[in-house]
Subunit: 514 residues, 2 copies
């Protein structure tokens, strides 16, 4: 076998089943090695940002790593934004980046670049392979790095000659690292903080947002009477009937400050101490109320679920929370579509077990209101702020969970960044329904202009936030990539078309004019 | 004025007229500053790769810098691939990258990243601004860096607080650096090499490929009887009737070796010593024939045109070359479209002064044969190998030269990387005609599979090089972004539709099935 085969088989033996790929000449040995590897298949994306976003979505849902295969520095560059999101989501992703043969680097051929410099800001682990003989071991090391709980981004740069030259055998798959348990003292401190005088908040995030963590956190909150809040942008959160109702930390810093006003104790479990998404003059970066004490029960990389269960025991919680969400979704709103009735329709129709990928920005505000009391489902959001994550993430989620429906709640501005994801949905016949929320503007930037005191934007400022001239035709953009599509502008037609799309196999796009 | 205004006015005073922008919250002071800046306008791209590719195309045609405005690390990341191409093209590009306020960086908010690490591989100059008071001076320094002949990529990272806080005034625009003249000794050595026994080649590139350089090089070649060859991927080359006919160095290394076989002297003028684009086992990186002597008349950053004129004088050349191309374009090929008759039709119909942006990869081979003897025109090619450069570059060329027609000869695989460029063509009503060559495959990779000895690709290898399932509908993809489009599959209908499109204002796309 050659180096490429030894590496791919190592990953496959370690449980990696999928590689989202957009290879080129320097990755040809990998391209042919897929067909000699057992248990690993390649899925083509027509742009690298689709591949890396799909790997992120896959990892969030599968709970195990996806690989990507990218073409030298420029190919990796195109995938960086969604790797930034993956790193912030703590997803397990293994990037295989082809490079020129080692002997060719000195020639400084046109595609030569400093791949390590490009990869480092988005990778928890980076290595450049040095020979075919060590490629399998490097692959095992990358796999192990990607598995550090809850997940990491590992990037392995593989010269063409290492892929092509002879190798012995795959490396043994690494043991899966376990998340370290938290010290008893941390549990005791957290319990004390939540029971002390004054208002207390249990702020949860990351691994706390699965059913196990949510249940434990809710038991504690009910036992001590504290508030339960989750981080603003969850990589993955379980929601809906039968699960605890959890407040969401708001987005804008003044809203966070208002939400936390008067709180004297904050206990963190898998969440980071709250900071402002952007820095605004006159508002602080760190959004902990003055005088409030922050205690860390568990860092995101700790055994957060175990810690939350220990905490529930420590505060003498009942074995199950009493207040759980019920499915209150329903109603048939009518009239012109707006972000409220759009959210209501989607929340009402989304089937049990749906995976909702939310990159609708301002257009998902209605769904955020209605969906906590809908059928049980999983929601994934934009963790790193690098837009263009939604539809690729939906691709990966659908590959990870072929038995579940995926709904991509997608804004138009961010959707345009990685619209090539639609093609992969069609090629792989994925059960993804894209609800494309078309407000034909960068609405969030119009908000920001207003926040900055610009009442009447000049022509340049207007041109940079408006998407009406020309209006995008998302029905054409979807059909052009093999995805059936319709346009709706009322709540009734959205309900009708969404119901139809969710009942049929394969992808569909509904352009919802809001 | 604030820092953002002081910077933008500095650039405008220095001759920067256009900023290709996709800003976000951290760039809001820039967004509003455009409307208080004289002489600089913002053009929106719906993806950062469009902005950076447009800046490259603008700079190649305008001969002066374009600016980009990008949103923190992830926004820059999305633009890196085309900056890689711009750096390899030696284009003058100034990137303004917004960042969090300095006081907000320690919070490690979601969009925080190491922008310098991302920017460095594609930038000749990188600086992080430290205050509003020094922002105008930093802008002048970036402008000066971008102007180092023939051009450089300069990246200035600008924290939000520097944009927003008070500044005094714009900085004086820097003097435009001039290219250093070459030493007389280099001219004498080159003249001696070209006149010595054995076959000699004058290999030209970069600034030698304008009319002035081509004429001087051709005078020399005629005087000494040497061959005249230009580098494979020209940032910009003048071609067609009235200009010298110049061989193009082929792409594959064995072709280059065959072309240069028996050559005993190579003189470089603005071109680099030839290297293989990719490294293949058994073939060398450096493609200079054994025993051949390479002399450098002028590096790309030298006064290449001056050096070529001095060389022409040194070898006693006539004042004008005798053999110049004549317009032999014509003929009305018929029948099913293929890459040969496609090239003939385009070469025949392209108007005088057309700018042809060639990212058609394997599909432009026919045009390469016919276009040297067509009407005089400018051709721009993919300098850095990072695909997705064609349509963005066409946007920039059309902004730079509104009086000229732009023809984007575009492959489908690479076109999908930055298809959002079509929207900017529509918004700005640019006279760009996209001839979208749809072979529905990554054909070059199919060639590479064959070169690697893979006669029958397995299912994974096939899936990674085939684009037929589903087939892309480029007519829909163009119309969805406001660009009129048609599909053709014969030489006659291509001629008819191309003639129509070139006669009308504004953009159009012709999907040519080859």
């Amino acid at each position: 076998m050659n180096g490429a085969e030894s590496l791919l088989q190592t990953l496959a033996d370690g449980g990696v089943e999928v590689c989202f790929a957009n290879p080129g000449t320097t990755e040809m040995p990998f391209v042919t090695a897929f067909d000699r590897t057992k248990g690993l298949r390649a899925i083509l994306g027509l742009f690298e940002g689709v591949c890396t976003g799909a790997a992120d979505g896959y990892a969030r849902m599968a709970g195990k790593p996806a690989a990507t295969l990218l073409h030298l520095g420029p190919g990796m560059a195109n995938g960086l934004a969604n790797l930034h999101n993956a790193r912030r989501a703590r997803s397990s992703v293994i990037n295989l980046i082809g490079d020129h043969p080692t002997w060719h680097l000195e020639a400084d051929a046109p595609l030569t670049s400093d791949i390590v410099s490009l990869a480092s800001p988005v990778s928890d682990w980076v290595r450049t392979n040095e020979s075919a003989a060590t490629l399998a071991a490097d692959g095992a090391a990358a796999l192990e790095a990607s598995l550090v709980p809850p997940g990491q981004v590992a990037t392995l740069i593989v010269p063409h000659d290492s892929q092509l030259e002879a190798a012995d055998r795959p490396a043994p798959p690494p043991a899966r690292p376990t998340a370290p348990p938290v010290e008893e003292a941390a549990v005791a401190t957290a319990a004390g903080a939540l029971r002390s005088d004054g208002e207390a908040v249990l702020l949860i995030g990351g691994p706390a947002l699965g059913e196990r963590g949510l249940m434990a956190a809710a038991r504690t909150a009910e036992a001590v009477g504290c508030r339960l809040i989750h981080e603003t942008f969850a990589a993955r959160i379980e929601r809906g009937a039968g699960l605890p109702l959890v407040e969401r930390l708001p987005y804008f810093p003044e809203q966070v400050l208002a939400t936390l006003e008067g709180v004297s104790n904050i206990v963190l479990a898998g969440a980071l101490s709250p900071v402002s998404f952007f820095g605004y003059p006159g508002l602080p970066s760190r959004l902990v109320p003055e005088g409030a004490v922050v205690s860390v029960l568990a860092e995101p990389r700790d055994d957060v679920e175990g810690a939350l269960e220990a905490l529930a025991e420590a505060v003498g919680a009942k074995s199950r929370p009493e207040r759980l969400a019920v499915n209150a979704a329903g109603g048939s709103p009518s009239g012109p579509l707006d972000i409220e009735n759009l959210g209501q329709v989607v929340a009402t129709l989304q089937p049990e077990g749906a995976i909702v990928v939310d990159e609708a920005a301002t257009s998902s505000l209605g769904h955020a209101v209605y969906s906590p009391t809908s059928r049980p489902h999983t929601t994934m959001t934009l963790t790193g702020g690098a837009i263009g994550q939604g539809m690729p993430c939906a691709v990966g989620a659908a590959i990870a969970c072929p038995e579940r429906r995926v709904i991509a709640l997608q804004a138009d501005g961010s959707g345009m960044y990685t619209l090539q994801a639609l093609w992969t949905m069609a090629r792989e016949s994925l059960d993804v329904t894209v609800v494309l929320c078309a407000n034909r503007s960068y609405r969030v930037l119009q908000f920001e202009l207003a926040r900055a005191g610009v009442a009447e934007p000049g022509p340049n400022a207007a041109t940079l936030t408006d998407l009406t001239e020309p209006a995008l035709d998302w029905v054409a953009l979807a059909k052009g990539q093999g995805v059936p599509a319709v346009r709706v502008d009322t709540a009734e037609t959205l309900a009708e078309e969404l119901g139809r799309a969710l009942a049929e196999p394969g992808p569909a796009l509904i352009e919802a004019l809001v």
